[in-house]
Symmetry: D3
Subunit: 286 residues, 6 copies
């Protein structure tokens, strides 16, 4: 179960509110690279963790709970960036006098053009769980496979795209408070990338975990097609050489080769449409 | 651009059609761990690849094109498994005499209970791009970040969950043809897991790629918070020790430590609701 | 604006309630081939109709309003089919004595296995706007393009897949009341298929409408590539001959030919990744 | 920010694992009436709370944090109910000997028929954030309007449908552990229904809050149409009498009456389609 | 069943077409606070209404039918606001001479920046069923629970957020015709808020309806946890006092108290991963 | 199975990169009228094709494979249009010197206002499978019904809305390279409209295919209601005359007439709510 502290994990300050930047921050809340995703992903991985011990379950709970606080920081940052946003398309500006100084010499209409419109219409100038183009977060992005190694790579993927996003936000930002908040979040993403990879190391690295799942008896897989790069260039041009085209495989269990792809199967032939199946008569056998 | 061959990449045979297994196979078509996802993900990564050379773009195109053929194999397998499926809830069975022998002594109604209903109602006994519970595939799952290392980990994640899925399907299957097809696909997933990790190795492994993105000057991130595990246990209980709680970080740029999480920020205080913003009067300053 | 009559457009009777058939009927309510789709599609086409006269707007409103009543009939049929559905997994059956006789000798658990679970858990034994696998209807399926000919073909598509669905439901049904309701709906779909095609005829048929949109000056399109079938077989095998490979085109404006597809463009070369764009250093120019 | 305790808020025990009940429980996790919804809704309402004081923000954080623990309980219950679920369609049952005794004399195939297939294929026998028909939770259901009264009614709606769901699950359950867990959750929903309504009372009840938003000057709304019930029966039949057809309005600001609906506007006439807008020529003015 | 009148329920006039306002209006069509939602919600509640009499079914049909006409008004308003919208990014403006005077001195490019792009690309300058950020309406927002009291609160929630939205649109608008249309819609929302609350009153108010569902024997719920506010502040700080922390509960059936939350359950311990379940070997028991 | 050629099907050149046009092009990639849709639709129709011969299967594969190359062209065009896009909201422009000349005298902030934000934040200046408002493509739009005639009309619908979109993009474009690419795509859409209609002709035109599905014995449908236009005008005003109100039906099997709609059914009366079904007591029979 959970507890909260009213205070934020890290300071969130905005000197120059910018509704356009509020929009950008939404990607870190409700985007596929964002914080709801990692928080919920780690929680569901923890809650479903099956293993002889609770070690990884515990670790996941620690970090999931940390991420909860990151969503909070970002939601707060969005609300602060919207504090002086215009709410009216009228030329004379909003009836509300707090607005006007915002965004230099931009007219209210111009500022609104770049905003998420639901920041004005649906939330009363606050964050909501959608991305920077307004698409709501969809929980199908919570990857929790029941396989610890697969899950760790899903987490590395999430934290890698997450830190890429955070640095892009940092580069786009002009406010010192926002840059400070983001430089903290970027650091946490660094740690989390390492953390999930460290689990892989602890499980024995490539040799101890690959191919995932390692519980499937590898002799049951097609031994002729598990370490060869399939080339599909129509002109038969050789693919670029790389670590994956020759040499021992990373798991030490095979040798990389190149295979020019070609059909091993036949042209499929389905049975004709059956009566009562809603097809046209012409699709049925005569 | 692309070409096709009418023949399948690998043989697809079904001796004992099973509409319930057709449903399961849908997960490998339209599930988040499935083949549409990897095909489209590699295509979009290729098409957006920015780099001094086209090497990785090329490699991605080879494998994306291979995956296209995997969707085809699975769609064919679904159609074949549906060949004798019942289409009627009537006790006497379908009007169509080809049905009846299917699934041992199951009544048509029982067989339909476990089927995806759109296999009967929407497709005329064929595959469609949805998962095994009927949820259509949603293209937000195409991860292509513009960062080669992040993308590779997204691909490892996809192929890891993909091979986990393929082995689960193998374990659930009872038909020799299906097991043969799957044992090929499992092998290809093995190769692809290795392939994307081999790119990471080629780029210099952890030291050469971490933290992702490595183009962000690391001195700009919060140096006090980038290699410490945050513990959030309310009782202050120490988290389990692991590779990520002590020792040199994987990228060789820091030292892992543990930090008992606590608020560094203040309780946030948003401005009161503004007139004209649709709030209740009680939310406005007096 | 709109009015209602409490009575149904056509009688809806269910003698033998069948919760499994209630599930199937959902496809005709909230499926992409269903009645919400056509109702809303015709409404939005009507409401956006731009033309010198209101003739097509009017016609669309008539039929959209008719479709509204079809959703109502189906929703009623779902509720009636659920009247005796079990609500408990307990072996002894539901506490409620009205249940029990339902579905012959099926145990409550068996009946529930084939049901949409939200029929029990979310609606209190009534319809909801989702398809037969429980996926909610998504309004992106409302096709209203602003082009009258394109819209008519979207409508033919909707009514064709709609009548295919209705006949599949008819074939699956065992209850006389349900067959009666469906034989009416199948008839209405017949009319609507014809109706939208009749608009095309009235606009001048293929010659008067194709290529859609006919307002784009056809001399601006690529005159070498507008009536030739592109063949992509990798072995250069000739495609099957058909009405579309030779002879005058349907609009009378061209001649069908076959073209063996080949690249006319170059390999694309994007600029390298820019600093500050979140890529890996290795993707940047040196 | 947040903390966690490894222990659950309330005991979760399952004596007789039932994979079918695991499916039902998913509705309380990822359904629109479920716990992710209320947790996230209260969090976003708290994080965006604008008011002279932080009182309601604080209250919302307390309850949101409580709900977090409810998701955890349910996810645990799902995993426990799946402990002995079959994973294979083979007649002889799963290779795994722990299975077999589950669900009385049901064959593995029968048990699987009623299961969410992703419980087998995607999660390794654990919960995921989707509803009981497998549809992932979509964050557009997080209602946080920036208006405290509107939000409270959204919360009452959530807790009412939530408690309806919880009692339906209770009625469907056969396991004492599950009934115990649910009788706790039902109790919490009782409190939460009251809690949000108590905020309305504290704000002055109907008179103090209606019409929502009360900050909009009511003299600006159409005074002739704000307290009359519009009747749309095509036969002009009088609507049923009720508290809303006569007497003083609940907010004390008007008098309920009945109005037979009729058009006050004209038939709309849009401009013809413009050149370059992609319409057919026939839609343009001549 | 249903009928239509070509004329609008209320006049819709636009003197100064504004494509940016057209975008805003989309929220009232396809947003979660919009008119499709209430129309469809009331229809499905009506169609599934189970009760000794049809009284509430009838009332719901009246109002659902009214709402249908509101969608029509808004769709008309969107089309009229788009009448002079630019369709080209070329500096010289659109080829079409009707454009140009629109939006004062804005260049076509500037106007397009703030528009929904599908207004240009997909609809030919007309409305579509999506919100103001272009997200299509998703029918999972149709709340119809089968419980009359829960449904009424869902309706109050819809009409409260709906009137909040309508007043925000009113405040953002600059056109007299639009303000007139909205002042009518705001009035209708006032009535509908009252109407659904009046049903609650008629059912006996808080005492007659709470806790929802009142048909569940309250003695079966956890009597120790149904009227106490759970506090989760990690520092044990007392929550703010409110109507919900002390005094008689609103339904008169309990007494509000405060409870400092703490775990009553144990740390959960799931069984280890099973063979054949797709986990890593390390997750299995030894 | 499939092969690729590194070169593009047709040249893609961009002289004046325009991030706003990149956004527009997304509609042709991930919009419902776009190329992913047709590619996948033709593939799934091919893969599920049931008929005595493989003729239509083959044809569909040719064209599906062609469409794959169209997605590639568009994705390339998007990336090229984003080459000089700004990535920072700072007034002084991006740190990156390649930017600045873009879009004439627009400030970076202005350019960003009209951009899809995920082009900056999620993809590193490349395409992704979403529409021009950022909504990801959803595979429920893949229409493959198992009925060849229905499918052909679905394809005509797709290519009609597709060519409408392509001409709108052509009209909006200002870059010669983009106009050249689009004039090719417009031509291909012309061919594909004809191609699918030619299949209908080959199957016997209206008489040979209607009503779809023609395998359902037409005598089973309601012979009194299959060729009459239902009028729903509340004032009984006669609907506009058209090809569909009189004369022989297009399939030659009936005669068009007009029918003034009226209820043929009764007011529905559902059973009262059952105990244990989660309703209010007031909904149950006494």
């Amino acid at each position: 179960m959970f507890y909260h502290d009213k205070r934020l994990q890290y300071p969130v300050k905005v000197d120059n509110p910018d509704p356009q930047f509020a929009r950008m921050l939404q990607q870190a809340i409700g985007g596929i690279e964002g914080e709801i995703r990692v928080c919920m992903q780690y929680l569901f991985q923890a809650w479903g963790a099956r293993a002889p011990s609770n070690k990884y379950r515990d670790m996941l709970l620690h970090t999931a709970t940390e991420e909860m606080g990151h969503i909070e920081m970002l939601a707060t940052a969005v609300a602060l960036n919207l504090e002086k946003a215009p709410t009216s398309l009228q030329e004379e500006g909003a009836a509300d006098e707090v607005v006007g100084a915002v965004m230099g010499d931009e007219s209210p209409r111009h500022v609104i053009e770049g905003m998420l419109h639901r920041h004005i219409l649906s939330t009363g100038l606050a964050a909501y769980p959608a991305n920077s183009d307004g698409v709501p977060f969809d929980m199908s992005h919570i990857y929790a496979s029941g396989n610890i190694a697969a899950d760790m790579y899903c987490n590395v993927a999430a934290e890698s795209t997450g830190r890429v996003l955070a640095t892009r936000l940092y580069n786009a930002a002009h406010d010192d408070g926002m840059k400070d908040m983001l430089h903290f979040m970027i650091a946490r993403d660094t740690m989390h990338q390492e953390q999930w990879l460290a689990v892989i190391e602890e499980l024995g690295g490539y040799e101890g975990t690959l191919p995932i799942p390692n519980s499937f008896p590898q002799e049951k897989e097609d031994q002729k097609n598990n370490y060869n790069f399939y080339a599909t260039d129509v002109n038969g041009e050789e693919p670029p050489k790389g670590r994956w085209t020759e040499g021992k495989s990373l798991d030490g269990k095979g040798e990389f080769t190149v295979f020019q792809n070609k059909p091993m199967g036949e042209e499929p032939k389905l049975g004709p449409a059956r009566p009562d199946s809603g097809a046209e008569k012409q699709q049925m056998s005569k």
